[in-house]
Amino acid sequence: MKSKNVWVASLIAPVMIAMLLLVAGSPSVRATDHSSAAVATVKIDNFVFGPQTLTVPVGTTVTWTNSDDIPHTSVSTEGVFKSKVLDTDEKFSYTFTKAGTYPYYCTIHPKMTGKVVVE
């Protein structure tokens, strides 16, 4: 049973990925894309947001993870989103539902800045 399931999955997965790619590539269905689980991550490491500029499609949920030994925050400069204080390995997620450029910074170490570009 097990091996058969794996075999079926391995056959279906590439097909599904191909279909997803087709859907993503078609602008006409983009607006209905909101419910699809687009995700992206920003890693906080050595007092730097990485990547410093993250470009994602509308509807993407971005998750920040603090990998430092020191707490950080991820706070929108324009008041759009605001994480709680993230201690080591803690995460914060925000779903971007509107296109635009979202600059943010760490309120504890304001030299740390980054932006999310939502297209």
Partner: protein, 339 residues
């Protein structure tokens, strides 16, 4: 030993004098960790001498009063750089209690806690309760104002202060001002005092005569040490313009977890060691995160700062002592002279 160390310092000062940095012949930058150094300020002319282990009693002798600065206790931090910051704070307090002279008071220059948690502040209070000096003055670090705009901090440590926790007091002829440069920080910027506090400071200093020694203390350095890591205060120059007319100004800061000194004209800048964990020298690591050192070396890079004031010469002598007892090594930790 003391002679050897004196030679080292003389040489260092000479090097600094010849490097073109000292516009007025007074600008000197030194950082000694793991050893003690006395800076005496007299009429704007800094005099330094090595501070051997057995001369500690002399530092307070003839002084009219002394106080101790501690900084960056980070209670709640528990990572490998120092898994027990409560114990090292306790060691710092024991060191203060063992001084031949009881300091008149203690100044804590911020980052009392790691995450502004009530339990962290409780632990800090418990340890500080055992200090021989009963009066403790605080300014917040950025870690003390994390999630509640500093409400918890202000309730506990900011009684009688203004704004986000700034205040001033007089002690035996010296005017002390505690400033807050960790609140409402702007994206891309460094520490910030803000317009309201600057106005208050200008007004606060107006009533003081130019011969009154001034001590400014704040968490983030009030001089720019390393902008890339945010080690400075964006509007500190304006604050310093208000103290220009005074004959003796001492600026005490924390935040960078290491000793750095600069003497410029009549203003002497000084940063203190942390009681919790060391941080790397500017630009020597990918970031300003905690610096991990072998356990047996930890107490050499943590410490307290003892400040002695002599009324007659209106001078302040600043002595940094590592927590470890055998810290008077001439070679220091390899980062002896800054710049």
């Amino acid at each position: 030993m003391p002679d050897k160390k004196q030679d080292l310092i003389d040489q260092s000062l000479q090097d600094l004098n010849n490097d073109g940095v000292d516009r007025r012949g007074f600008l000197k930058c030194m950082a000694w960790a793991g050893t003690g150094l006395v800076w005496t300020m007299s009429g704007g002319i800094p005099v330094s001498r090595a501070f051997a282990k057995d001369s500690k009693k002399d530092a307070a002798k003839g002084a009219d009063f002394s106080f101790v600065q501690i900084s960056d206790s980070h209670i709640g931090f528990n990572k490998p750089a120092n898994p027990d910051v409560t114990a090292t704070l306790q060691t710092a307090i024991n060191k203060i209690n063992a001084m031949p002279h009881t300091p008149d008071f203690i100044i804590h220059t911020g980052d009392l806690s790691q995450l502004s948690k009530p339990s962290e502040f409780d632990t800090l209070d418990q340890v500080l309760k055992g200090a021989s000096a009963k009066d403790i003055y605080f300014v917040p670090g950025e870690h003390d104002m994390l999630s509640d705009n500093g409400e918890q901090y202000l309730q506990r440590y900011g009684k009688g202060t203004k704004g986000t926790g700034w205040s001033s007091f007089d002690h035996k002829g010296v005017h002390f001002v505690g400033l807050v440069n960790v609140a409402n920080l702007k994206a891309g910027g460094m520490g910030s005092l803000g317009h309201e506090q600057l106005e208050w400071l200008e007004d606060d200093l107006k009533g003081q005569s130019a011969s009154t020694p001034i001590v400014l203390f704040a968490h983030i350095p009030l001089w720019t040490i390393y902008p890339d890591w945010g080690w400075g205060t964006d509007d500190s120059e304006q604050a310093l313009s208000y103290v220009k007319r005074f004959g003796s100004v001492t600026v005490l800061n924390g935040h960078i977890h290491q000793i750095m000194q600069k003497i410029e004209g009549k203003v002497s800048f000084h940063t203190a060691m942390s009681t919790a964990f060391p941080q790397p020298a500017p630009g020597t690591a990918p970031s300003a995160g905690p610096m991990k050192v072998p356990a047996e070396q930890l107490q050499q890079v943590l410490g307290i700062t003892d400040v002695n004031y002599v009324v007659s010469g209106r001078s302040l002598a600043i002595v940094d002592s590592p927590l470890g007892a055998s810290g008077a090594s001439a070679s220091g930790n390899g980062g002896d002279v800054w710049r």
